[in-house]
Amino acid sequence: MKNYLKRTVAAAAAAVMTLGLVGCGSNTSSTYGGTGSDIGGVGNADSNASGAASDADSTAANGSAASDANGGTNSTPAGNGGTLVIGSIGPITGGAAIYGENVKKGAQLAVDEINEAGGVNGMTLELNFQDDEHDPEKSVTAYNALKDKGMKLLIGTVTSGPCEAVSKEATKDNMFLFTPSGSSVNSITSGDNCFRMCFNDPQQGKLEADFIAEKLDGKTKVGAIYDSSDSYSTGILDGFKEEAAAKGLEVVAEEAFTSDSNKDFSVQIQKMIDNGAEVLFLPIYYTETALILQQAEGKLDIPVVGGDGLDGLIDALGDKVSLADGVYALTPYSATAKDEKAVKFTEAFTAKYPDADLPIQFAADAYDCVYAVKAALEKAEVNDANIDASELCDKLKTAMTEIEYAGVTGDSKWSADGEVTKNPKVMQIKVTDGKGEFTDI
């Protein structure tokens, strides 16, 4: 009998759990079962995401949804096409949080701008951003959660590994997926529903090899430090090595670290010195780069070239920013760039988020993603926010290959396999009076 209470409690807990899951399930599935008031409910539940403006939107959505349900035909007048829910997934906690934060802010900025200007074909946009902690498992959970919230298309995911997992699910559902920054080749290979805004990893490596061969004349001995446990890093290095061989560059040292040994780089730096590297190639993220630069101080004084992972390096170095002086990075956007579109975006971003740090390229990528989607929606003449996600995907994937979009990160075109074509930009960090900034070269 001693076990009696234990057993009762256990059984009760199990029962409560089941009820909880089922309750949650039936609630949400009835939410988009088609009745107007329930759809309005979704709008209300999410409305605090974008503040007072979207309260009005959800009321509008409510009205139009109700009329759709009652009328049965799409008689929605212009300016009242409902609220199109755009899902987005990325890390806003954990080690890669800066990327997710920037994507979230950049996309939200674009969505708000578009809504203020009257929406897309009469539809209002709504962004629902979910955290995935840079973990494929959680990313898929977030994707499922977004589907339950009525997501019609996905801008994400932000990082490559999760993107590979989510894109496979999205292909199964025929959900339109547009990643701002998932750069591994496999991020968008699962189906023709996937597109990306940035270069893929081998492409980036190739462009960096071209840059070293063409712009840093005479320097042919390259030493690379890379993260062998990371597909971003190894992907870039693979592309780099292939192109380096074709361009007459010699990779004299190729030193790996893993995510478990990314604090002490003295061995790798010594190898670079011993093998006489003339250029240090760092296809890695800014956190490790900051450590490498600090540990190499006074020992290794050669040009440093990196990829778009170096975005964020200036902040990571803090008051030791002078170490980053002269570092080259292939990045399509920087907050201090001087071209017109970038300046305009940076101003809008800082006006909207006065307390935040300056945007990095992930914010610009996400901002461009939303506008490219807007262009595609206009091209495909979608004006009903209650469209089936799969039907929308079919329309968008044709429209994406037809549009040309001039954005913050360059003039972009897409092919049917989802890859983007645009001009690469290499920038250099210049430090003056203890303040670093990316400058065009």
Binding site: M1, N3, L5, R7, A10, A11, A13, A14, M17, T18, G20, L21, V22, C24, G25, S26, T28, S29, A45, D46, N48, A49, I92, T93, N128, F129, Q130, D131, E133, D135, P136, E137, V140, T141, A142, N144, A145, K147, D148, G161, E164, A165, V166, S167, K168, E169, K172, S184, N186, S190, D227, S228, S229, D230, S231, T234, G235, T258, S259, D260
Partner: protein, 360 residues
């Protein structure tokens, strides 16, 4: 009926009913996408946590490398399923069944080999060594490359194999870039494996060998003195625990489109250990409930609204601390005992009344 049999039947029956109910609801389309996604992952974590409970609860040894065995199961099963499907053209169900069994077998072999040195230690020392082995297993798969082409399989260690025929090239294991196993895990497979694992674990714990393990846990020297071959039984439980973890790893691998070895790190071992400790050492039912509750909390918090989503890990941590305190802090244990005593008194009174009535 014996008390343990009854207890086991309740656990098994409860799990079975839960699986069937959820399965029917899923087929009827009454569940939302997130719940369906969570069901699969939770099922896999339950298999992992119940198997760890065998080492931690029944054997009484803290293992911090359980994710390592899942890693072995995951990557060896992915290799088998990809070879069978792509190269041998086997049907999916056959390939998957063989892959799960192979994953479990490989994990068992490694569990046995690792167990030989590890089981010479006890307590904290054992915990540290399992931690080390867990990391080694993860690093191992960070460096293994397997590629197939028309000439057969090519292996590489630390570097991808060279001289591959590019036209028929198929990368099976890609070192740190992980592997992309076919997407075969669904709820029914997980439920079936979970129930089979529960039967195996219950039978083992209730068997002579299981009792021997518990005797070793409770008093090592006394167990030795009555002639129990301590190392043998410890090794047996450790290997079985590893094998089941391997099966969990195989399911996990085939539930996500791509998997990197670094996913199976120290954090994952600790996560599973938390489920076991919170659920109660030695209690399979506890592990099951704790896994469901703790895994579902962060997921379900997503469903509420955007504001809470941002704080969900904080809420999760607070809930975790509160549950731990509620379960193990002496103050709360006393409180629970008092409540229990009250219940008992009431029941005794009620029993007295009824028996009194019968006499009258």
């Amino acid at each position: 009926m014996k008390k343990t049999t009854k207890n086991n039947l309740i656990t098994f029956g409860g799990t079975l009913i839960l699986c069937v109910v959820l399965g029917i609801l899923m087929q009827a389309g009454k569940l939302n996408s997130m719940t369906m996604g969570l069901m699969v992952t939770i099922g896999i974590y339950i298999i992992a946590s119940t198997s760890l409970n065998l080492t931690v609860g029944v054997l009484g040894e803290l293992s911090l490398g359980h994710a390592g065995f899942m890693c072995i199961g995951a990557f060896s099963s992915a290799t088998v399923s990809q070879i069978l499907i792509n190269n041998a053209g086997a049907p999916n169900w056959l390939a998957f069944t063989l892959a799960i069994l192979f994953g479990a077998l490989m994990a068992a072999i490694f569990g046995f080999l690792i167990g030989i040195p590890v089981m010479r230690l006890r307590g904290d020392y054992l915990a540290i060594v399992t931690l080390g082995f867990g990391e080694i297993l993860k690093s191992l798969f960070n460096n293994i490359y397997i590629t197939s082409d028309k000439n057969g399989l090519h292996f590489g260690f630390t570097n991808p194999p060279k001289n591959i025929d590019t036209a028929t090239k198929l990368e099976i294991l890609r070192g740190p870039k992980g592997t992309s196993a076919p997407d075969l895990t669904n709820f029914w497979v997980v439920a079936a494996v979970l129930l089979i694992c529960l039967i195996i674990l219950m039978t083992f714990i209730d068997s002579k060998s299981g009792r021997a393990c518990m005797a070793v846990r409770d008093n090592y020297i006394a167990a030795q003195s009555v002639g129990i071959n301590v190392t043998k039984f410890r090794l047996m439980a450790f290997t079985l625990s590893a094998a089941i973890a391997g099966a969990a790893g195989a399911l996990y691998m085939h539930s996500l489109a791509n998997m990197l070895p670094k996913k199976f790190d120290y954090n994952m071992s600790i996560l599973i250990l938390v489920y076991v400790v919170l659920g109660g050492l030695g209690s399979l039912r506890g592990s099951i409930i704790a896994t469901i509750v703790l895994y579902a909390i962060p997921g379900l918090l997503r469903g509420i609204n955007q504001e809470i989503v941002n704080y969900r890990m904080l809420i999760y941590a607070i809930i975790l601390i509160c549950l731990m305190l509620w379960k193990n802090a002496p103050v709360f244990i006393n409180m629970r005992e008092k409540i229990k005593a009250k219940f008992k008194n009431k029941k005794n009174e009620a029993a007295d009344l009824t028996s009194g009535g019968a006499e009258a």
